[in-house]
């Protein structure tokens, strides 16, 4: 059978289908069982009883972006480390452990340099922002 090799990924697809079924089933069941009676009061966003002012889709603190930025670099580096880590033991047993260790450590040291830089420059602090608001306050 030609597709036997790929059978290992079949459960992944099945679980994705099950997730779709759970979601669709829950939504359809609640559509059937619940009674809908929307009023404009109900449909306003919850702000502790106040009338919402404006939209929530406004500009946000750039801190969030800097965190995402540092994350994505670390994410990519860890992706590259994974296959090397997976062969580490095997190569260590046949005596190439030192070579792999040197490559691995030089890779990680660059990673450490990155985190040290961000630490020193204060990118890892959450409250640092001397960011100037539009109103000019603080």
């Amino acid at each position: 059978m030609s597709s036997e090799n790929l059978d290992v990924f079949l459960p992944v697809v099945i679980m994705a289908v099950i997730a779709v079924v759970i979601y669709a089933g829950a939504i359809i069941a609640s559509k059937i069982l619940s009674n809908l009676n929307p009023t404009p009061q109900k449909q306003t966003a919850y702000e502790c009883g106040e009338e919402p002012v404006g939209t929530a889709w406004s500009q946000f603190n750039i801190r969030f972006y800097v965190v995402g930025l540092i994350f994505i670099i670390f994410d990519v580096e860890s992706v590259l480390m994974f296959p090397v880590a997976a062969v580490f033991k095997e190569l260590n047993e046949i005596g190439h452990g030192g070579y792999v260790l040197i490559i691995f450590l030089s890779f990680i040291s660059v990673l450490l340099e990155g985190i040290a830089y961000c630490w020193k420059k204060g990118d890892l602090n959450w409250v640092m922002s001397y960011q100037k608001n539009k109103s000019g306050v603080k």
Partner: protein
């Protein structure tokens, strides 16, 4: 066995979609989004040829490094866009013409 031309067709389609997004959008973030489509099309081609023609894993390595470079590109590009927005309060590509004399 799936004909390899199917993968190449999907890859070409993705490339065209990415190009069309890059050409038709005026938001810089959307243009970067089009670039992601194009990079994915390239990576898909590499992996396809790796299976059908080369019979080794060099194509996979290329795809990996394309993903790595796409991540670096997205990080730097979006940082530039955000900085630009802070300075000019717009992300319209036509407004970004300071370098033109």
């Amino acid at each position: 066995m799936i004909p390899y031309i199917a993968y190449l067709g999907i890859s070409a389609f993705l490339f065209i979609i990415g190009l069309a997004i890059m050409m038709s959008r005026k938001n810089i973030v959307a243009i970067l989004l089009g670039i992601e489509f194009i990079l994915n099309a390239a990576a898909l081609n590499f992996v396809t040829y790796s299976k059908y023609s080369a019979h080794n894993l060099d194509g996979h390595i290329f795809a990996l490094f394309i993903i790595v470079i796409a991540a670096a590109e997205a990080a730097v590009g979006l940082a530039i866009v955000i900085r630009y927005f802070q300075l000019k309060e717009t992300v319209h590509i036509d407004e970004a013409s300071e370098l033109r004399n």
